[in-house]
Amino acid sequence: MTTGQHYIILGGVLAALLTIAPGLIWLERRLLALWQDRYGPNRAGPFGVLIVLADTIKLFFKEDWVPPFADRKVFIIAPAIVAITVLMSFVIVPFAPGVIVVDLNIGILFFLAMSSMGAYSIILGGWASNNKYALLGAMRGAAQMISYEVFMGLSLMGVVLLTGSFSLVDIVEAQRGMWFVVPQFAGFITFLIAGIAETHRLPFDIPEAESELIAGFHAEYSGMKFGMFFVGEYLGITLISSLVVCLFFGGWLGPAFLPPLAWFALKTFAFIMLFILLRASLPRPRYDQLMAFGWKVLLPVTLLNLLITAAIKLT
């Protein structure tokens, strides 16, 4: 691959992601409305698509308020961390054969590293706000993300065992015969649950928890700083969906009547829909229920899955 092609791919991925993130906001509002027998935004532009533009303009022109009691430097850094780490994680995602920013040989580990760095945005944002609700949200977020990272990493190891490589391109190529969702069903379920918890999406949104902590860790944020958290969340959904597709649903592989990129986009979109459906239907568990579920159910399941996979692989 020449340097020129490489830059084109880099720019294309970045542009696509930054368009997808606000687009998802519109999509989520429309789909939630659909599942709640409403219409959702339908005034601005065709099907209300331009609501995204209106929202973005609104966010940009809002007062960028830093509370006087906040820790100014940390307060400003925190929202940048979430966007940076999620965007960095997309570096290793193969969208189609050859369409990947860098095919790192530690691919999945890089993703895990970046997602563990993403936890800082919640913790630092909540701490720097110097507000009790934000701090409570940050503590919940820290505990949730650290614990679910463990299962996330372990649930991926089954796939890594079957492939013998951390690189996502190798993993996708290894699924030519059969998608890994079949032999690694437990791994898929645990990864999906851990992924939802890691992006703190709705069934597991206890760091935000509007009804208890007003908005949790980003209670004090406004304007584009809040927008960063917002965009980071939607990019996180896209990231987890595309990773699920790459790891368990054969990535770009599919019958030949569609190009590989289209297959990838289609599968990812299906998982994004699943994320939104989860938000539309499930209530939020209590904090201790979440932790108990993680440590008492998910951890044994992932360990057992890993053990059985290793045993079968050895024989």
């Binding site: 659909l34 599942w35 027998d37 339908n42």
Partner: protein, 171 residues
């Protein structure tokens, strides 16, 4: 676990349900007849003002948004000299309608009264008075009340006997 999947499926099925939203400006909502909206002053069947300026509505109003001044015409019939409702204060509770002894003040099913200028929300008598009887057609206060006004003396109201002459000896 199964219940979670069932919840997901049931929510998904809502995709095919009818949407409950009424797209307002294109599609008007159906308001019931007793909906409490814009306040009007009605007239009796003879096209005279029903309001007798008794101040009961102003007294009943919890937010004090009604102002009026009573006066009398040459025949002794009371009517408000001015009648002013500040709709930026009004909470549409309907207490004025309940307090009104002559069915003059009524709340009608109309809510489209938004204004850009707040001063335009102060309605004067000419804005409030309508050429109609509102919810109680056929009711005419002066026809059933025992008060004497021009063109109608005591005892000439509907179902009213002439007043007793206390000086006569006939029982």
């Amino acid at each position: 676990m199964l219940s979670i999947l069932r919840t997901l499926w049931l929510t998904f099925l809502h995709m095919f349900h009818k949407r409950e939203t009424i797209l307002y400006p294109e599609e008007k909502p159906k308001l019931p007849a007793r909906w409490r909206g814009r306040i009007v002053l009605t007239r009796d069947p003879d096209n005279g003002e029903r309001c007798v300026a008794c101040y009961l509505c102003a007294a009943a109003c919890p937010v004090d948004c009604i102002a009026l001044q009573a006066t009398e015409d040459e025949t002794g019939r009371r009517y408000p000299e001015f009648f002013r409702i500040n709709f930026s204060r009004c909470i549409f509770c309907g207490y004025c309608e309940e307090a009104c002894p002559t069915y003059a003040i009524q709340l009608i099913p109309d809510f489209e009264m938004a204004e850009y200028n707040r001063q335009n929300l102060v309605y004067e008598k000419e804005d409030l008075l309508i050429n109609g009887q509102g919810k109680y057609p056929g009711y005419n206060y002066y026809k059933v009340a025992g008060i004497a006004i021009g063109g109608k003396d005591k005892g000439q109201a509907e179902r009213e006997s002439p007043p007793v002459d206390v000086r006569s000896l006939i029982p």
